[in-house]
């Protein structure tokens, strides 16, 4: 942790493909296997994020794009979404599939923010993806607080993937060997051509003011259940007194 900026120091920390992103990569590959097309894997991150990209290529992605530059560091969700959007805008796409959230910040904000910056509709937390017969629409099961809803939209669309969408495949040896031969593009700030003031820490509307360990609650009464009936009696008495029963 960088004490001054409250941001994470990701240097030297190994990068993994996070579990929700694995679902997204798997979904993209399955759609390609069924309907054709091309799967491009895009990430923004420090140099070691290359490992995650290689894994996605080994699973079956066709090419990878690594947005990496000191100027992108310290980005909050908005600045991250903007960096991704600036690149993805230059591509032609039918679907952008993101993991629901990362496992460090777990904000689930980059997907919807990216959809807005790309001016495409979003369907978040999908567990099932189908493409209509004419290939023009996507029909999804979107997780809700009560269960799920069936949501349809015309392509292009951005989706975020959640648990239950699929079982991500493990890359095999062939896949791993082929991954190294696949097109791999590194994009820095010059190549992206965006004003550096809008990106990274400088371009982030939110700032971390302070980080601290969570408060530790102290335990209360603790008894041994040598005599289970007595322990049960003590507990129920206590709960009755507290008005909990």
């Amino acid at each position: 942790m960088n004490e001054e900026t409250g941001t994470l120091i990701r240097d030297g920390v190994p990068s993994i493909l996070n579990p929700f992103d694995e679902l997204a990569v798997e979904a993209a590959i399955q759609l390609k296997e069924k309907h054709g097309g091309e799967v491009t894997i895009v990430t923004m991150g420090p140099p070691q994020a290359k490992d995650a990209l290689l894994k996605a290529l080994a699973m079956g992605g066709d090419k990878a794009v690594h947005l990496t530059d000191r100027a992108f560091a310290g980005a909050d969700t908005w600045a991250t979404a903007l960096t991704l959007a600036e690149y993805i805008k230059t591509m032609e796409f039918d679907l952008v599939i993101c993991g629901k959230q990362a496992i460090d910040g777990d904000t689930a904000q980059v997907g919807p923010e990216l959809a807005e910056l790309l001016s495409v509709p979003q369907i978040c937390y999908v567990r099932k993806i189908d493409i209509s017969e004419d290939g023009k629409q996507v029909i999804t099961h979107r997780e809700t607080d009560e269960g799920y809803e069936v949501v349809r939209a015309k392509l292009p669309v951005l989706l975020t993937a959640t648990k239950g969408l699929n079982e991500p495949r493990l890359p095999n040896i062939m896949g791993i060997m082929k991954a190294k031969q696949k097109p791999f593009e590194e994009v820095n700030i010059e190549k992206l051509g965006t004003d550096p003031d809008r990106l990274g820490l400088k371009g982030s509307p939110t700032q971390v003011r302070k980080v601290f360990p969570p408060e530790k609650k102290k335990g209360g009464i603790k008894i041994d259940a040598e005599n289970p009936a007595a322990a049960a009696k003590q507990l129920v008495e206590f709960l009755t007194k507290k008005g909990a029963i």
Binding site: E143, V208, F212, P214, K217, G219, A225
Partner: protein
């Protein structure tokens, strides 16, 4: 900040005048023109333009500009006409923040036939309720709700906007933040106002191992989603006065690009929701076998409690996902939480540690769950629990 219009790129499709809720765009020959006195920069025209002929530039704002933003707002979600419980939690917390700032609290209610909830929100602390009620808002859609919220926010300039961190709240808030170029903090568990009148947004990160305080110094409003069941709703006061304002926001069907075809509830018959129960009996891996869940079920029945589970037993399919308590499940704050054979890892604690009263039964005296338990029994659930059930029965029968 300003609106840039590229007349040469414009194709004269006339979608933008229809998308504008402020009468700021009118036909001008075969193209359009903008009345910048009326424009509030809500971004609806930019989003609907198929050729990117409209661009809104948003920049950091200075302190003079910041001072123009006033009042605390809460987005109060409904689901099939029902007000979600998080709405009352937000209004209660919002009231506190508004009082600290010496400003007003506005609740925003969007949906179809939902006006009846406005009084409830006033009784819980809102000074004003903005009601946006129309057929197009019957189902939650990102597009329609974003247009409603951005139109309201851009024209009325609140300083704080809070949303519940529900599936819909976490879908909506970032879309609004991106359209208006605002900072947004996810899933907050603490909110305060500091001496500079800024909103301090506290949230857990890294699976609850670190807490972070986040501010949005250069953008207004300051926006946050708030984890349900962390702040408690206050008692309603039916004598509280408040104003209900109906606002008409036009959204044309072409602006709503997703369509909800069907809603499916996965609530399990006879299984109480952990989010709404006063008492939860929660089992962990210590229960060993799904057949053993009979014991906690018996206790739950006596106490009119919901049945909960830690992640491993939900992953094993012993209980449905709706019953999982913890960071990647539901956050709960019942009056009584009974943890059976749960070790109490930080991700589990993240979902239940604000319960009023915690009881734990675990055979490992060093299990971390004891550090949050008000009453702990070190022992085997299979010998202790039957005794507890018998004792509860006896006490209830004697009443």
């Amino acid at each position: 900040m300003g609106l840039l219009y590229d007349r040469d790129t414009c194709t004269g499709c006339m979608l933008c005048p229809k998308a504008c809720n402020f009468d700021a765009i009118e036909k001008d020959g075969d193209k359009v023109k903008f009345d910048l006195d009326k424009c509030v920069l809500c971004g609806s025209c930019e989003e609907v333009c198929p050729v990117d002929a409209i661009k809104i530039e948003r920049k950091k704002i200075d302190s003079a500009e910041i001072a123009k933003y006033k009042d605390v707002w809460t987005f109060c979600e409904t689901s099939d006409g029902r007000l979600r419980s998080v709405a009352l939690e937000l209004v209660t917390k919002g009231r506190e923040l508004a009082d600290t700032l010496g400003e007003k609290l506005t609740a925003v209610l969007i949906g179809n036939n939902i006006e009846n909830h406005a009084q409830t929100l006033i009784h819980h602390g809102a000074d004003r309720v903005l009601v946006v009620d129309a057929k197009i808002f019957a189902d939650y859609t990102t597009d329609a709700y974003t247009i409603a919220m951005t139109s309201l926010i851009a024209s009325r300039k609140p300083s704080v906007v809070l949303y519940g961190a529900t599936n819909n709240g976490r879908d909506l808030a970032p879309r609004i933040a991106a359209r208006l170029g605002l900072g947004l903090t996810a899933d907050c568990t603490g909110l305060e106002i500091d001496e500079a009148r800024q909103l301090i947004q506290t949230r857990p990160a890294f699976g609850g191992n670190i807490m972070a305080e986040i501010i949005s110094p250069y953008t207004r409003p300051q926006m946050a989603t708030v984890r349900p069941n962390v702040f408690k709703p206050g008692e309603p006061d039916s004598s509280r006065p408040g104003e209900i304002e109906k606002v008409n926001i036009e959204v044309s069907p072409v602006q709503v690009r997703t369509r909800v075809l069907e809603k499916v509830s996965e609530a399990v018959e006879g299984m109480k929701s952990v989010e709404e129960a006063d008492v939860i009996v929660c089992s962990g891996r210590g229960i060993k076998d799904p057949a053993n869940l009979e014991l906690p079920k018996q206790l739950a029945k006596l106490l009119d409690a919901a049945i909960g589970g830690s992640r491993p037993i939900v992953d094993l399919g012993w209980l449905p996902p709706s019953q999982q308590v913890g960071q990647s499940g539901r956050t709960v704050c019942p009056k009584l939480y009974i943890a059976l054979g749960i070790s109490g890892q930080i991700q589990h604690l993240a979902g239940m540690s604000s319960s009023d009263f915690v009881v734990a039964i675990n055979k490992d005296p060093d299990a971390p769950i004891f550090s949050v338990a008000d009453f702990g029994i070190v022992g085997d659930i299979f010998t202790v629990l039957p005794e507890v059930i018998a004792e509860v029965k006896r006490v209830l029968d004697s009443r």
